[in-house]
């Protein structure tokens, strides 16, 4: 109950931001940070609570983005309908790759490898397939109407992504208080003991992966609507796979607010770097990589963990 109150408070506070500022810079910053928080929460479900580290979450992000983008561009489908179908598509990819991987008993490094490979395969296909525009990319038609899931100003986008993040926070909260969540954590801690306690480990992992993919897919659809341009490197590139895991690890892996905290840190770091050293390609990721190593080395439980130790 108390946790629900905190979620409501945080969301309410964040919702007020567009009311106190008109700055596009601030709003854009927060929109992207919230997008990363959403994608990160998706990763957190599988990696944080479930203990299965995926290095290829881009596969779900990109599939959802392309699905909604292509359906809108080539088939005139409505953006909101595209959102639903995109999430379903991303979740399906998650379910299939999960089923294959977990059936084969892949764990740890092997699982990370196979998720990496799946994302890479999709990236290569997207970079040559005509339907995704191959090297040129996919441009979604500009249609600035709310019914088409596009808006003139940033504020509506902000509230929508905030809404998505709020839902993801609730999902994480529910996870922690439910049997499914307890089973998921048990699988993370000790698979054999989990089996002996009556848990169908395969089913739990598969469900977690599908849920994780769906949440991340929502982020992919949002990206498509907000930026209106996709290419193979954007949709399936390592940047999103890295961001997806970086945010929860920095913020606190396996916690409700970890991904949100971490996303804000990551985005802030990125902006600070840009201001101090200029907009050079690659620099932000260098910083992120260093932060990742430092966090794992000195604060494996992330910011949330450091806070908890104080209390």
């Amino acid at each position: 109950m108390k946790r629900l109150g905190i979620i409501a408070l945080v969301v309410a506070l964040l919702a007020c931001v567009p009311l106190v500022t008109n700055s596009n810079v601030v709003l854009n910053f927060l929109v992207v940070a919230l997008l990363i928080a959403l994608v990160g929460q998706g990763w957190n479900v599988l990696g944080g609570y479930g203990g299965q580290y995926s290095f290829g979450h881009a596969a779900f992000f990109g599939t959802a983005a392309y699905t909604t983008g292509i359906l809108q561009l080539h088939y005139g489908l409505n953006g909101w309908v595209g959102l639903v179908i995109g999430i379903a598509a991303g979740a399906l990819v998650g379910a299939v790759t999960g089923a294959l991987s977990f059936r084969s008993g892949l764990r740890g490094s092997y699982f990370a490898l196979v998720t990496l490979a799946f994302a890479e395969v999709l990236r290569i296909i997207a970079s040559v397939a005509p339907i995704t525009g191959a090297g040129v990319g996919t441009l979604i038609k500009l249609d600035l109407r709310p019914e088409a899931f596009q808006f003139q100003s940033r504020a509506p986008f902000y509230w929508i992504i905030l809404g998505f993040v709020a839902v993801s926070l609730l999902i994480a909260q529910r996870l922690e208080a439910s049997r499914f969540g307890a089973y998921l954590v048990a699988v993370r801690e000790n698979e054999d003991a989990a089996r002996a306690a009556g848990i169908d480990v395969f089913r739990i992992k598969l469900a977690a992966m599908t849920l994780s993919a769906a949440i991340t897919a929502a982020g992919g659809c949002f990206y498509a609507q907000y930026f209106l341009f996709l290419d193979a490197g954007i949709a399936y590139g390592p940047w999103i796979s890295v961001d997806a895991l970086l945010a929860p690890i920095i913020g606190g892996i396996g916690t409700v607010f970890g991904p949100l905290l971490g996303a804000l840190v990551v985005k802030t770091l990125g902006e600070v770097t840009k201001h101090l050293i200029g907009d050079a390609p690659g620099l932000d990721l260098v910083i992120f990589g260093c932060v990742l190593i430092l966090v794992v080395a000195f604060a494996p439980r992330g910011i949330a963990g450091l806070l908890r130790r104080r209390i």
Partner: protein, 290 residues
């Protein structure tokens, strides 16, 4: 399409390319066999080595094959230091942490190169870069033939090292039974670092062999490392013989795929093999039970 005039050169070229792939894979499988970690930074380290070889040529006029002599010990030390002072301590012994740290290293290295050198592709023009020798119906590129011979020599050297030197025996001991090795007085942290250093040294040699015929850019290593992963998984994690055989097989497969399907789809062929092997026979051809 199936005429021997086309097939034989494709196969032979595949074998030559595969040998260098095998060398990259060798480093990876060595590290896995002893440290039991999948080194996600392997590709980035290869890229660094390629850049090093490139600048050795551009700045000092050093022929890559000569540069290898100097770069190999340097990269051995680099690998040693990485494992001893970064990866080892930061991981606190947990597998999941090692995954993240090597991934972090990969991200840092690759993007540092991107930041420093931009995404431009560089190549070197060597006098013998395009010479070929004739073997039957095939014209084999001289640098690739040299590469093949060097790989054989390096593998032989590594084999002798493992079999007959004290360090080699210590490495094999740690790979088999870490606790027992530790109790026998072997400094495991040191051996881990030595092994990592050997793996990185292999990359230095591979980079020098690749330079005459390949391009250099911050993403170059990645292309090779997924191939190396496929080889290691196919040949069996930790198996030297597996890395060699797997490398040759993959080289030939890639060559034939390129012949029949064209470049980019050939790449997909490798990934598909990779995924299939991971799913259905993760222990590979020569590997021990996972």
């Amino acid at each position: 399409m199936l005429s021997p005039v086309l097939l034989i050169p494709a196969v032979l070229n595949g074998v030559l390319t595969g040998a260098v792939y095998a060398l990259v894979a060798l480093g990876l499988t060595l590290i896995y066999g002893v440290l039991h970690i999948i080194n996600f930074a392997h590709g980035a380290l290869l890229t660094v080595a390629m850049f090093a070889a490139f600048f050795a040529y551009k700045l000092f006029g050093l022929d890559p094959y000569l540069a290898a002599v100097g770069l190999t010990p340097i990269f051995f030390c680099l690998g040693y230091a990485l494992q001893r002072f970064v990866i080892g301590p930061a991981a606190h012994g947990e597998d999941r942490n090692i995954l993240l740290i090597t991934l972090g290293l990969a991200v840092v290295i690759e993007n540092a190169l991107l930041y420093a050198f931009r995404a431009d592709t560089r190549t070197v023009n060597l006098p013998y870069g395009f010479s070929t020798i004739e073997v039957g119906p095939a014209f084999l590129s001289v640098p690739r033939v040299i590469g093949f011979c060097v790989v054989i020599a390096v593998t032989a050297a590594l084999y002798l090292l493992m079999r007959f030197t004290d360090t080699g025996k210590a490495i094999r001991a740690v790979a088999k039974e870490k606790l027992g090795a530790e109790l026998s007085g072997i400094d495991v942290a040191h051996i881990y670092a030595v092994t990592f250093g050997l793996g990185t040294a292999c990359l230095a040699v591979a980079a020098c062999l690749l330079l005459p015929t390949y391009y250099v850019n911050p993403h170059a290593g990645n292309a090779f490392v997924l191939i190396a992963f496929t080889i290691v998984v196919l040949g069996g994690m930790g198996s030297v013989a597996g890395a060699l055989v797997g490398g040759l097989i993959i080289g030939v497969v890639e060559s034939l795929c390129g012949l029949f399907l064209g470049e980019s789809l050939g790449q997909i062929g490798i990934f598909v093999i990779f995924i299939l092997v991971l799913l259905f026979r993760p222990t590979g051809l020569f590997g021990e039970r996972a």
